[in-house]
C-alpha cells in the first residue's frame, strides 16, 4: 500500500472512530462494562438529589411543602424533551448511516420519554391543584406537553404496528423527524393561542432571576440524576432489543436447519 493512501485511511479512521461503537458486538461489550457503574451512579445522584430536595430544603413562602414536587416535576419535564431530541438524533443517524444500534436506541427511548412526559403532567396537575386551584388549564406549557405525549403515543404505535423491523425503523425515523418540526410548530402555535398561568423558565442560564440557591442546587443534582437514569434505561433497553434480535435470528436459523 502506498504512503498517501495509508495517510488518507488514517485520516478517515480518525473521523470514523465514533461509528465503531455502533457495532452491536462492541456496543454490548461496552454497555455491559459500564452498566453496573451507571446504575450505581444513578442511584447515588438521583437519591441524593431527591433526598436533599425533599427533606433538607426550607419550605417556601406561599408555597408550603408542595414546592418539593419540583424535584420530580422539573427533571422529568426536562428529560421528556431531551428524550425526544435524542430519538430524533438517533433516527437521523439511522437514516443516514444505517446503524442498527441507533434505530434500536431510538425505539428504546420512546417508552421512557413517554413516562417522563406523563410524570411531568401528573406532578404538574398535583401541584397546580393547590397553587392555581385547578388540575388542568389550557396553558401553553401544559398543552405542549399533552401534544408531546400524543406524539410519543403515535411513534410507539407505529413501531408496534409494523412487522418488518427495518421498515419499522425507517418509517418511525421519518415520523420522528417530521413530527419534531410539527411539535416545534405546535409549541409556537399554542403560545400564540393562549397566554398561560405557568411561570417562565426558572433555570435558564441567561435569566437574571433564578430560583434561590437553596432550591437550585438540589434541583440541578436531581436533574443530573434523572439524566443518568435515562442513560441507564436506554442502555438496558437497547441491550434487551439487541438480545431480542439475536433470539429472533437464532430461531430463524433453527427453523431453517429443521426444514
Amino acid at each position: 500500500m502506498s504512503a498517501p493512501n495509508q495517510r488518507t485511511r488514517q485520516a478517515r479512521d480518525k473521523i470514523n472512530w465514533i461509528w465503531e461503537w455502533a457495532n452491536p458486538v462492541k456496543f454490548m461489550w461496552f454497555s455491559g462494562l459500564v452498566l453496573p457503574w451507571l446504575i450505581g451512579a444513578t442511584v447515588l445522584v438521583m437519591g441524593a438529589g431527591l433526598v436533599w430536595g425533599f427533606f433538607f430544603t426550607p419550605e417556601a413562602v406561599n408555597f408550603g411543602s408542595s414546592v418539593k414536587i419540583i424535584y420530580v416535576h422539573v427533571p422529568s419535564a426536562f428529560m421528556a424533551i431531551s428524550a425526544w431530541f435524542m430519538m430524533v438524533v438517533a433516527s437521523v443517524i439511522w437514516l443516514i448511516r444505517r446503524h442498527h444500534v441507533s434505530a434500536l436506541a431510538a425505539k428504546a427511548a420512546a417508552p421512557v420519554g413517554t413516562v417522563f412526559t406523563l410524570i411531568a403532567l401528573v406532578t404538574g396537575a398535583l401541584w397546580g391543584q393547590p397553587m392555581w386551584g385547578t388540575w388542568w388549564a389550557w396553558d401553553p406549557r401544559l398543552t405542549s406537553f399533552l401534544i408531546l405525549f400524543l406524539f410519543y403515543l403515535g411513534y410507539m404505535a407505529l413501531w408496534a404496528a409494523i412487522e418488518n423491523p427495518d421498515t419499522a425503523a425507517d418509517l418511525t425515523a421519518v415520523l420522528a423527524v417530521v413530527g419534531s418540526v410539527f411539535a416545534i410548530l405546535s409549541r409556537y402555535a399554542v403560545n400564540f393561542w393562549n397566554q398561560g398561568l405557568h411561570q417562565g423558565a426558572s433555570l435558564s442560564l441567561d435569566a437574571e432571576e433564578n430560583v434561590a440557591d437553596v432550591y437550585w442546587l438540589p434541583l440541578v443534582v436531581a436533574m443530573g440524576g434523572f439524566m443518568l437514569f435515562f442513560v441507564t434505561m436506554i442502555f438496558i433497553r437497547t441491550r434487551a432489543e439487541i438480545r431480542l434480535r439475536r433470539v429472533h435470528a437464532l430461531e430463524l436459523r433453527e427453523r431453517m436447519a429443521d426444514a
Binding site: L150, V174, F182, L185, A189, V190, F192
Partner: protein, 218 residues
Amino acid sequence: MIALALRDLRLAIRAGGGFGLGLAFFLIVVTLVPFGVGPESDILARIAPGILWVGALLACLLSLDRIFQLDFEDGSLDLLATAPLPMEGTVAVKALAHWVTTGLPLVLAAPVLGVLLHLPAPGHLWMFITLLLGTPALSMIGAFGAALTVGLKRGGLLLSLLVLPLYVPTLIFGAEAATRAIDGFDNTGPLMMLAGITLASIALLPFAAAAALRINLR
C-alpha cells in the same frame, strides 16, 4: 401528472364516497353539536368557528386512507413508482386530488353550515377564507400519514393517531384567524401563519411522504 390527477378524480367520483361521505360526515357533526351543548344561539355563535374547523378536520381524516391504500392493494402504486414521474410528484398530485374531492367541498359547505350554528355575519366569508387556506395543508399532512401507514392491514386507526397531532398547528391558526375576524380584531398574524404552514407543507412534505412510500414499497 395531469393524467394522474384526472384519473384519481374520476375514480373518486365514480367509485362514490369521495364527495358525499366527507360532506355528509361534516353535516352530521355540525348537527350533533347543538344536541350536545344546547340550542342557545349565543353559545353556538361563540363556538361556531371552532366546531366548523374541527368538523372539517375530522371529515378530512375520514378519507385519508383512500389516498394510497386502494392503489397499493391493486398494484397500481408499484406502477406509479416505476413511472417516469418522480414519487414526490405522485404524492403531490394525489394530495391535490384528495383536496379537490374532500377539502374543496368542505370549504364550500362551511359557510352554509355556519347558518345552522348561528355564525355571525362576517364569519361566513372568513370561514371560507381560512378553510380555503388551511385545508390544502390538511390534505398534504394527511397524505404523509397515509404514506406511512399504507402497508398496514389495520392502518385506519393508527393513521388518525399519527395525523391528528400533526394537525394541531393548522387547527389553532385557522380557528384563531376566523375567531379574531368575527370578533373584529386584526387577524393578519394567524392568517399568515396558516398560509405559511400550508405552503411549507406543500413544498416539503411530498419529499417525506415519497420517502415513506419508497420504504413501504421496498
